[in-house]
């Protein structure tokens, strides 16, 4: 019952936050100088044309009325029509969402694997020079943001040793037989390793760039958490049972060390998703972020609104999921 109330409360605060986001975005972009209508029309259009189009997109009404119209549409699943492409915003945004989701999740997986490995190895080698080396590498990875790692990766694996693609989501000449935009998943489902590899070799560098700072954070937090866990008696007891140090760390200490680290990683994962905006730009990856920057440059107001709201939904959604996951993973809460 208490859990139920907590969930309801969380959902309510989430709703308040999202409405706040909607209002701010709406107001901010109405102040944008530069008339999007003028950009749509061919040179030589009359004032009358401009007025007609302005009315069509509702831009002649007051900001407050515009907001009401837009918010009413949103609640019915209508996010308006993109000014540059003249297609429904929802369709455009949902079309790009899979690309960004696949990239983010791949980055999360890479970060978890690297970070977890670093934490376990560092714990295994505690007190040695190797541990110090891992700590220094961790500190470096943490202090430099994904944007710079992306550039470094482009130089290393795109130019110096060109083994991966540094732009796009898939080689343009390939004809994709896909029905969804989840390329990575669909290539697996359709058992097309050739396509799968082409997609992975496009995604790997941007995903890695996003993953490096997160991996460092996971490594740091998890190692600290492991360090505290390793002092507990049940870990010692497990050692006397004849298990190896690696087994003791991964089987006994790790499951209990993960929980305190998880909340923080959740917050950091939203930062990673935020990072996709610039990383997608950097790698010309056709996802939401890249679309967002184009929308800003083209002053495509409805599209900007849609994308920002979607990002905000993802952010708050991830936080919600992490909280629920923490509750589900904690045996004390599960049976308490």
């Amino acid at each position: 019952m208490q859990l139920f109330r907590a969930v309801i409360l969380r959902l309510l605060t989430t709703a308040v936050t999202l409405s706040g986001v909607a209002v701010i975005v709406f107001v901010v972009i109405r102040v944008v100088p530069g008339n999007p209508i003028a950009m749509m029309l061919p040179p030589g259009a009359t004032d009358e044309d401009v007025a007609r189009l302005t009315a069509l997109y509702g831009l002649d009404k007051s900001i407050f009325r515009q907001f009401l119209i837009w918010a009413g549409g949103v609640l019915q699943g209508d996010f308006g029509t993109s000014i540059t492409t003249r297609q429904p915003v929802l369709g455009l945004v949902l079309g790009r969402l899979p690309a960004t989701l696949e990239l983010s999740v791949m980055a999360l997986v890479i970060a978890t694997v690297i970070g977890g490995f670093a934490a376990v190895t560092g714990t295994r080698l505690r007190g040695t020079r190797s541990e110090a080396a891992i700590d220094v590498a961790n500190g470096m990875a943490l202090s430099v943001p994904d944007f710079l790692w992306g550039l470094v990766l482009i130089l290393l694996f795109g130019v110096l040793w060109p083994v991966f693609h540094i732009s796009g989501r898939v080689t343009p000449s390939i004809d994709l037989p896909f029905t969804t935009n989840f390329y990575l998943i669909e290539s697996l489902v359709r058992l097309r390793p050739d396509l799968w590899w082409d997609i992975v070799s496009h995604m790997l560098l941007p995903a890695l760039a996003l993953a490096i700072p997160l991996a460092a954070i996971i490594g740091q937090v998890l190692k600290q958490s492991l360090k505290e866990t390793m002092h507990l008696d049940y870990v010692t007891l497990s050692r006397t049972k004849g298990y190896s140090e690696t087994h003791v760390i991964t089987r006994e200490a790790l499951p209990n060390a993960v929980l305190p680290a998880l909340t923080l990683v959740g917050v950091q994962f939203t930062f990673l998703i935020g990072g996709t905006v610039i990383i997608e730009r950097l790698f010309s990856y056709e996802g939401l972020g890249n679309m967002a920057i184009d929308a800003v440059i083209n002053r495509d107001l409805p599209l900007i609104q849609g994308i920002v709201i979607l990002f905000a939904v993802i952010f708050t959604g991830v936080n919600l999921i992490v909280d629920l996951a923490c509750a589900a993973l904690n045996p004390r809460l599960r049976h308490g």
């Binding site: 505690r126 007190g127 507990l232 008696d233 049940y234 010692t236 007891l237 497990s238 050692r239 006397t240 049972k241 004849g242 298990y243 190896s244 006994e252 499951p255 209990n256 045996p331 004390r332 049976h335 308490g336």
Partner: protein
């Protein structure tokens, strides 16, 4: 264990100074000393869980004739896992909170000794019944936080006997408990030991506890063995002045009102001199 010496890596002084002691099959030996005397260190050395910072300088740890220190680390680990067990100090932190009781009791049987899962389960059930847990099947499925402190201690005692070990080290198993539970746990350990005929090394600072469960005892001071005697010889008249003073300082259950006698300074000086002498011999040697 013969002539075991150990020290913190790089430190000038030894933590254990040529410690020799033995536990015969079926024997309960008390290992007594004040905190810092090295008694826990000995238990850890036997179980191969010395802190990384501690190095063994010399000596051997013989288990059924094999020197554990000469085995390769992986072999030593498995050997200890198969033949030794630990009853830990604090039942609250000695069970993994995220694993059910059943797997925690049987993992060694399955992974190290290669038992089948069902056989190990049955064994765990029998042992829980032996330590007077009424509904073993339910307890096996529960998580540690669902059990009381006393229950957990029983589970840990039962788990220690699971693999029919040759030697069990009990590391102050009663200090974390209150006095009434203490007695019960002591009796339980003694019963289990008698029934299974296991050798038991009982680490404690409480001579009163030793007098209840042990047949023989070793007294440590500053990592040096100062007394090694059978219980019936020790209690009327310990041979070493420090042990005598320690006995005098222990409150008697029969007469709890007697005031505590601190260990006299000259006795401490005497035993300290003995430690220094032992070190001199070690450095010259």
């Amino acid at each position: 264990m013969r002539n075991l010496s150990a020290r913190v890596r790089g430190a000038p002084d030894r933590l254990l100074r040529d410690v020799s002691l033995s536990v015969a099959p079926g024997e309960v030996r008390g290992l007594v000393g004040e905190s810092g005397a090295g008694k826990s260190m000995i238990g850890k050395a036997v179980l191969g869980i010395l802190p990384r910072a501690v190095e063994v300088l010399s000596g051997e740890i013989l288990l059924e004739g094999t020197d554990l220190l000469r085995l390769a680390p992986a072999d030593r680990r498995r050997r200890i896992g198969a033949t030794c067990a630990l009853i830990p100090q604090d039942p609250l932190t000695a069970l993994n909170p995220s694993r059910r009781i059943g797997p925690q009791m049987t993992d060694r049987l399955v992974d190290i000794l290669g038992w089948s899962r069902t056989k190990a389960q049955g064994r765990a059930r029998d042992l829980l019944a032996e330590v007077q847990i009424t509904d073993p099947d339910r307890v096996l499925r529960q998580y540690p936080h669902e059990l009381s402190g006393g229950m957990r201690q029983r589970v840990l005692i039962a788990a220690a006997f699971a693999a029919e070990p040759k030697l069990i080290v009990a590391d102050e198993p009663t200090t974390a408990l209150d006095v009434t539970v203490q007695k019960e746990v002591l009796r339980l350990i003694a019963d289990m030991q008698a029934r299974h005929g296991t050798a038991l090394l009982f680490v404690t600072h409480d001579l009163g506890v030793v007098s209840k469960v042990c047949q023989s005892l070793t007294v440590l001071y500053g990592g040096l063995v100062v007394e090694d005697a059978a219980l019936r010889d020790f209690f009327p008249a310990p041979a070493h002045p420090y042990a005598r003073a320690l006995l005098a300082a222990t409150p008697k259950y029969t007469d709890p009102d007697t005031s505590l006698v601190p260990v006299p300074q000259e006795v401490l000086d005497g035993v300290q001199a003995q430690v220094v002498a032992a070190d001199r011999g070690w450095r010259d040697g």
